[in-house]
């Protein structure tokens, strides 16, 4: 068994590994690798044959947080300890680059027989100290939720750290369907310079315009996230009918969490 960094020529073999579990995931992974590259992705080989993959993606605009990406072992080689080996390898790589907190997104999908292709993975994460932080209901599709697990690698966590509130001028710039989902949308937002005579914060009306646009596209839900130190976002979100899902603690940095909200279009 050998772990090495993924090369371009490994792409087909990696996709085939994922395909042994889920065809849709394989398609999504291919698209993701083609769009975002294969940096920070590793493969596990057995007798020179690629039997699994795992990796991580640093999260920009955070204090060294990262997501675990595409972690699969070929179905033929499952339950032989290879998943554990590559996962420990990745955790070691994450420690080397001094990642502070690791997040994993995973589905709770079950087939008609009640079998979940992700159960083994969830057990692996929990075995390595990952804890469930958020469940976004019906995220991927109706009755298919997104679970986000996390593990903080810092040793001294001050739970009472207070972060200064900020009041930037936020404007929405795009509406998009979230990758790998059926009918779940999000709004892209950015911080701009405050125009003269205009408010800093977006309003409930701004959100409702976006929600109407999603309805026209036959969307089911709108998911949106914001840092926890922005006090002006809460009133308009609540007025526009968004509900609070939960927060990923210390996502951006110690004391600044990522708050998740959802609007159900029914």
């Amino acid at each position: 068994m050998f772990c090495r960094q993924m090369k371009n020529e490994d792409l087909n073999d990696v996709i085939n590994v994922i395909d042994t579990h889920d065809e849709d995931d394989a398609e999504d992974a291919l698209r993701d690798f083609e769009n975002n590259g294969i940096n920070f992705q590793w493969v596990i080989t057995n007798n020179d044959k690629i039997i699994g993959t795992s990796g991580f993606r640093p999260i920009l605009e955070t204090d060294n947080s990262a997501y675990i990406s595409w972690t699969y072992i070929d179905k033929k080689y499952c339950k032989q300890g290879f998943g554990n080996q590559i996962f420990e390898f990745i955790l070691n790589e994450l420690n080397k680059v001094k990642v502070n907190k690791i997040f994993i997104k995973i589905s709770n999908y079950e087939d008609k027989k009640g079998n979940s292709p992700y159960q083994a993975a969830i057990k692996l994460y929990e075995k390595h100290g990952f804890e469930l932080e958020i469940i976004s209901k019906d995220f991927y599709d109706k009755y298919e939720d997104q679970l986000i697990y996390s593990k903080d690698l810092r040793s001294n966590l001050d739970e009472n750290i207070l972060k200064k509130e900020e009041k930037p001028t936020i404007r929405f710039v795009d509406i998009f369907e979230i990758a790998e989902t059926e009918g779940s949308y999000s709004f892209e937002w950015k911080v701009v310079n405050k125009p003269l005579f205009q408010k800093r914060s977006f309003t409930a009306d701004d959100l409702l315009i976006g929600i109407e646009a999603v309805k026209e596209r036959k969307g089911r839900k709108v998911f949106i996230t914001f840092p926890s130190n922005l006090p002006l976002i809460h009133s308009p979100l609540q007025e526009a009918g968004f509900k609070y899902i939960g927060e990923l603690k210390n996502y951006y940095e110690l004391g600044i969490h990522e708050m998740h909200f959802v609007h159900d279009l029914g």
Binding site: K167, K199, R200, P231, L232, S235, K243, Y244, I245
Partner: protein
């Protein structure tokens, strides 16, 4: 009763307050020659606000002859002072109260607010002393505006005041509404008593005019978004903005 600090946290760097303090000091040093000599005396005549000169455009004295700045003297007089205690006292008040008021409106708006408060103070003094040939100078009208605004914005916040008792100085913490309320009542009392006097001394009506400008117009100048969540704004304790999500009705089902 001298304020020395308050318990109000400074949220953003008060650039405008710093600039105004800097300008006042520079003008005191460069234009008014540290408050000494002919240059100092001439600066008061040239740039001070002389109601008689504005209204009647006549020069009865040498000082009035020097006063050629016209209506601009309403502005220029705001940046002149009569002595070290005058400038230090004014700038101390500006230091204590200005930064927090600036927090509520941003630096550019604060400068506009300050200037308009000073102009109002000047007009108030002119109206109550229309025949006066005594130059009016000082930032205290504009700073009165800042204090009036502070009273409306942060009435409950504690202000540390220095009170001289014989040779000893005591410090007390009093809520802003008490300190500023006492101050304005004193100004009004002294202002009423000043009617019929021959001129000179403290321009109480400038203080009063500036103060009430601040009280009335702060609602136009303040930025409610900047004030959102301020721990000391108003009379009631503010909840954390995100606490609305504690209500089960606002949570994902």
């Amino acid at each position: 009763m001298i304020p020395i600090k308050d318990d109000n946290p400074q949220i953003n760097t008060p650039y405008a307050t710093y600039l105004l303090i800097f300008l006042n000091i520079m003008i005191w040093l460069i234009v008014q020659n540290f408050g000494s000599g002919v240059q100092y005396e001439e600066s008061i005549c040239k740039f001070g606000l002389i109601p008689y000169s504005l209204i009647y455009e006549k020069a009865l004295t040498t000082c009035l002859e020097l006063n050629q700045f016209g209506y601009l003297s309403i502005l220029s007089s705001m940046f002149l002072h009569g002595g070290w205690m005058h400038i230090l006292g004014n700038l101390l008040f500006l230091w204590v109260f200005g930064g927090n008021v600036e927090d509520t409106m941003g630096s550019l708006r604060f400068i506009c607010f300050y200037i308009f408060a000073g102009i109002t103070a000047g007009i108030a003094q002119i109206i109550t002393n229309i025949e006066s040939i005594v130059p009016m100078i000082g930032a205290s009208g504009a700073i009165g505006g800042v204090m009036g605004a502070y009273l409306i914005l942060f009435p409950k916040v504690k202000v540390h005041i220095l009170v001289p008792l014989f040779i000893i100085f005591w410090t007390f913490r009093v809520p802003a509404f008490a300190m500023l309320g006492y101050w304005i009542v004193l100004q009004i009392f002294d202002g009423l008593n000043s009617f019929g006097s021959s001129g000179g001394g403290i321009a109480f009506w400038a203080h009063i005019g500036g103060f009430f400008f601040g009280v009335i117009t702060i609602h136009l100048f303040k930025d409610n978004e900047l004030l959102h969540g301020h721990p000391y704004h108003g009379w009631k304790q503010k909840n954390d903005a995100s606490s609305i999500w504690d209500n089960p009705k606002n949570k994902q089902k």
